[in-house]
């Protein structure tokens, strides 16, 4: 039965700009070095390339630190160290390997605030997200996988899990430390060693993470951290000593990596882009759905591969839902990510901001209707107002391409069949959302949607025990849970 549309406008208090909120900046020190070194073989080393680049804080556009720009020789040194460490590390009893990972989890918890501030300064995400999501989740990933290290014989009945060797890992800029944890924890638990490269614009927390490894007393070479740009990543991917490459990033780069590995025998897992449908039926609890939609697309400024970037609303509630959504948008606070009240922080980089603006313009040009709440954006740094597009059709670029920003495209549907057809009509298949009060409808939709993660009456939830990964061009392999563990091993 369709939800009743209210005849009277819901009452709301509109203060506009009557009162300014006082700034509430997080003041804990981030301890960011002026210039970083690479972490190879357990030592901090200056790059053989002798080159550095600036890490810019998207919060104010100012230089934050100097990051080593590693070249092929640096990558070689890292693989040599990882290769040397592999023998002893893989032969260490699982319980002992686990103890190192437990230590890392605890040390991350100890220094959680420091890392959260560093993450926010370097990447632009709101401090309340880095503090309440990225850091606790990163520590949880180490803690979860620590416990697997001595239980691998129970992960795949009838088979023995064997490590692969040296794993090359390349991670994105949207959850810098969390993606590092997703990659390193399962690799180490299963007895592999690692060469990992953070994204060019967000290297600080990865390089800081070396101090955690040092404090944990991790044997030299088990984890090697290399910063740099695209060609540094290519040197890792193409390194002959890499037994497996694990990549999280764009579908475009994922395809380049898959092509580069063809015929090499290296294993590969890819966690790539998405264009998730968030589907709201007319029997859904609308206020909860509004919260889920907002969380789905504006979490981390929409820099989320599984963001609910296509809202599919059943026709009967479209008007009501969009009205409530607009009302909710006007209460979102956009601004300084270091402010504890900020909901939407800074866009990660100038380049990403330009890409978002370009796609927003294409939405306007192709005839979709744009809505942005009135909000004052800081004068310096990279910011973008939360944006809704209604009247979007399937062929619009904003309905097909991954925007990776705080931009939601709204489409409507009449029947569940139409919703399934529209939701699945994409080359991606990472995630989807379903909002309805009817259990059987949830299960039907969940099984019909071609996506690796389906959130029903919730969105953007993650857990180390819960496998995450995509169908189709969103990649292959899973991260998290027993599923993710198996992707770092060979079954003997």
């Amino acid at each position: 039965m369709p939800a009743k549309t209210s005849r009277t406008q819901a009452r709301e208090l509109l203060f506009g700009d009557l009162w300014e909120f006082d700034p509430a900046p997080e003041s804990a020190p981030a301890h960011i070095d002026e210039r970083y070194k690479l972490f190879i073989g357990g030592r901090y080393v200056t790059p053989k390339s002798k080159k550095y680049f600036d890490s810019i804080s998207p919060r104010d556009g100012k230089k934050l630190a100097e990051i080593p720009h590693a070249n092929a020789a640096d990558v070689d040194a890292a693989f040599a160290a990882a290769k040397q460490a592999f023998g002893p590390w893989s032969k260490l009893p699982g319980a002992e390997r686990g103890k190192y990972l437990f230590r890392i989890a605890r040390l991350l918890q100890d220094r959680s605030r420091e890392f959260a501030v560093a993450e926010t300064l370097d990447g632009g995400k709101p401090i309340k997200e880095s503090r309440d999501f990225d850091l606790p989740m990163a520590a949880a990933h180490f803690f979860y996988h620590a416990g697997w290290a001595d239980k691998l014989q129970y992960a795949a009945p009838g088979r023995t899990l064997e490590p692969l060797g040296v794993i090359g890992q390349v991670i994105p800029w949207n959850f810098p430390l969390l993606m590092l944890a997703w990659k390193i924890a399962p690799a180490l638990a299963t007895g592999n060693t690692v060469v990992i490269k953070p994204a060019e614009t967000t290297s600080v927390t990865a390089l800081k993470f070396a101090t955690i490894l040092e404090q944990a007393g991790l044997p030299p070479g088990v984890v090697n951290i290399i910063s740099g740009a695209g060609e540094t990543g290519a040197a890792i991917v193409n390194h002959p000593d890499a037994a497996k490459i694990a990549f999280t990033g764009s579908t475009e780069v994922g395809k380049i990596i898959q092509r580069a590995l063809a015929g090499t025998g290296k294993k590969l897992t890819l966690e790539l882009g998405g264009k998730a449908a968030n589907i709201v039926f007319d029997d859904a609890p609308l206020d909860q759905a509004v919260e889920g939609i907002v969380n789905g697309i504006f979490f981390n400024q929409g820099h989320v591969c599984c963001a609910g970037s296509r809202l599919l609303v059943q026709e009967g509630v479209e008007k009501e839902l969009v009205a409530r959504l607009k009302r909710r948008l006007s209460t979102l606070r956009v601004g300084d990510p270091l402010d504890k009240n900020t909901d939407i922080g800074a866009i990660n980089s100038k380049e990403q901001l330009a890409k978002i603006k370009e796609l927003v313009q294409s939405g306007i040009d192709e005839g979709a209707e744009i809505y942005q709440p009135s909000c004052r954006l800081p004068g310096n740094g990279f910011y973008h107002a939360p944006t809704l597009f209604s009247g979007v059709s399937q062929s619009h670029r904003i309905a097909r391409e991954e925007i990776f920003g705080p931009v939601l495209s709204i489409l409507s549907f009449r029947t569940p069949e139409e919703a399934i057809e529209k939701a699945n009509n994409t080359c991606y298949g990472l995630s989807a959302g379903v909002w309805t009060d009817k259990g059987s409808k949830i299960l039907r939709m969940a099984s019909a949607l071609k996506a690796g993660v389906v959130w029903a009456n919730t969105y953007n939830k993650f857990d180390p025990s819960s496998p995450f990964g995509g169908y189709k061009e969103s990649g292959f392999g899973r991260e998290g849970g027993r599923h993710g563990l198996l992707d770092y091993t060979k079954l003997a």
């Binding site: 088979r159 395809k255 063809a262 015929g263 009456n457 919730t458 857990d463 189709k472």
Partner: protein, 276 residues
């Protein structure tokens, strides 16, 4: 003395017995070099037609209950057992027996692998969270030259048991077991189009297998060069590629495993809040 009726070997595609659309054939000889039959030399167009047939059959096959898929695969074993001597004559007693056993093994997996491969995940938040498997869709299979029945069947079974459909290319030098297998599939209750068997030259077909976007995965034995072609083409649509050494021991019990099924399923994780 009355003349024998010789059989015209045909490929089994979309539940029908076809010649290559190209009309091309290649001769098959016996051990003494005598002419046996003409085998269809299938083309890229035949492959694309087979993909269409598989696409039509896919949704229905994936919707069959695991119990039903188990019974249908078991029925295939019955069909092969009843023509044991005929198949053994073109392979061997040992290979035919091993193939029947493998079919029975995987028939039994149909309603069990989910409990091995899936999971309920103990997340920290108040959510019911589970991971189930789903078939990927249409899968390409390239069988090796040797063990022409057992290898072919070992590559096909873990793919179809979960609800995928298959287009397979049989051994070029020993295609006859695949011709007979097609006839057995046709009477096994397996819906037409679920397994499509082509004969011909894999070298001609590999580029299309690699790049055809409707094939969501490839399971193949491949040389290093073939592997490179397959994986490079697969990258265009992020296709999954599972490779086996051409010299694999197909009689090994290691193939009796749910992890072969795992290679051709997607894991789907579903979250739902617990509470009001």
């Amino acid at each position: 003395m009355a003349l024998n009726i010789t059989k015209t070997p045909k490929c089994y595609v979309g539940g029908a017995f076809i010649r290559s659309e190209s009309g091309r054939v290649y001769p098959l000889h016996d051990a003494d070099g005598g002419f046996l039959a003409n085998i269809p030399l299938c083309t890229k167009k035949d492959l694309r037609n087979a993909v269409e047939a598989a696409a039509k059959a896919g949704a229905g096959w994936a919707k069959r209950s695991p119990y039903n898929r188990a019974q249908i695969l078991y029925r295939l074993a019955e069909m092969l057992e009843s023509r044991f001597s005929e198949m053994a004559a073109v392979t061997s007693d040992k290979e035919t027996r091993a193939t029947i056993d493998r079919i029975v093994h995987f028939a039994g997996w149909a309603d069990k692998y989910e409990q091995v491969l899936g999971s309920v995940n103990p997340v920290a938040s108040s959510h019911f969270n589970f991971t189930v498997t789903e078939p990927m869709g249409i899968v390409g299979v390239l069988a090796p030259e040797e063990a022409p029945l057992l290898a072919l069947v070992t590559l096909i079974l873990p793919v179809i048991v979960s609800g995928n459909t298959v287009i397979a290319v049989a051994s070029k030098s020993k295609p006859y077991p695949s011709i007979l297998l097609g006839e057995m599939l046709a009477v096994s209750d397996l819906p037409g189009g679920v397994v499509n068997l082509l004969t011909g030259d894999r070298v001609e077909l590999i580029p299309t297998f690699a790049t055809h976007e409707h094939l969501r995965a490839i399971g193949a034995t491949a040389t290093k060069d073939e592997a490179k072609t397959l994986q490079q083409g697969a990258a265009e649509s992020v296709k999954r590629v599972v490779l086996h050494e051409p010299k694999t021991d197909w009689f090994s019990e290691s193939h009796d495993s749910p992890y072969a099924i795992r290679d051709f399923v997607e894991a789907k994780t579903v979250w739902h809040p617990i509470g009001s």
